[in-house]
Amino acid sequence: MDGKAIVITSGKGGVGKTTSTANIGTGLAQLGKEVVLIDADIGLRNLDVVMGLENRIVYDIVDVVEENCRLEQALIKDKRYSSLSLLPAAQTRDKTAVSKEQMVEVCKRLKAEADYVLIDCPAGIEQGFQNAIAGADEAIIITTPEVAAIRDADRVIGMLQAEGLGEPEVIINRIRMDMVNKGDMMDIEDMIEILAIKLLGVVPDDQEIVISTNKGEPIILDDSNSQSAQAFKNIVHRLEGEKIPLMSLEEGFMEKFKRILGLG
């Protein structure tokens, strides 16, 4: 099939890489794409839980590279979409259990069968990061509207460029328009200007994401179409080459009214 491998990375931990990987992967499968998610965070397996697939794991990526099983045996089918599967990280091993070359090989084999291979990158810029980006054709940077997260994102962009992944796009996660409007959070234009890269999307800070993660159901499955679900849908369509304008994340009229009256 010859799909492409996209690494989802950030430098800083806890900014939403795993959440984004789960949602973008599920969204692409909703569009009928063949998708494989790789959890490259070896030793800190997460993506299985966010996807609600933790009880189905038999083999993991280390079993694959050590040839304890075939690649197909380690792939876990998603509950909801048959064209979506997960290659889990090993939980009891460390980053050195998989080499760069092995990662490149795994990605190559998965790309032959899928439209998209999404790689959930560990935090940091050490070997785990180096491995995760080794097999990627493209990169998505996740950041939050904070100085430390953007600084790390900038560092990672530089390192990606050095590895030939020169044109990453950024997702700004956990934005709060109420704070932006009060001048207490950097706005989107500021951040894009400073990072000097293309914007793939903006995801609001949304407690529904915490709830959906509790259930093991990515928010993009949400029918009520919360703002964060819509944001991830837009991102998926942009990845597919559609031109979708940024959605309005302005606070609603009532919220603004309440805030001005000091009730919000």
Partner: protein, 95 residues
């Protein structure tokens, strides 16, 4: 609107502007990898060289790192007192 009014009455700086300025500085220093001390040293040396040719206001000299798009520029602002017309000979003599 009300927010803007509120801002006019307290001269507190928006924390987002603080964040932006701090971020810009930290990124420039990350990239150029030069400490403020080294920058100060460079300033002294620069002053020495320039003073050989023109009289400058040493205490008003400033050196900054500026970033636009992807390139970083070293910008020195050196206010001149008055032009000293010296021949090249003078310069080598004074060395």
């Amino acid at each position: 609107m009300l927010d803007k009014l509120r801002k006019m009455f307290d001269d507190e700086v928006d924390s987002k502007d603080l964040a932006k300025e701090r971020l810009k500085l930290v990124l420039i220093h990350d990239k150029i990898n030069i400490s403020p001390e080294l920058l100060e040293e460079m300033k002294e040396e620069l002053l020495e060289v320039v003073s050989k040719y023109i009289e400058v206001e040493a205490n008003r000299l400033s050196i900054d790192l500026n970033q636009d798009d992807q390139s970083i520029a070293l910008v020195a602002n050196i206010p001149v007192k008055e032009l000293r017309r010296r021949s090249l000979e003078d310069v080598s003599e004074s060395d």
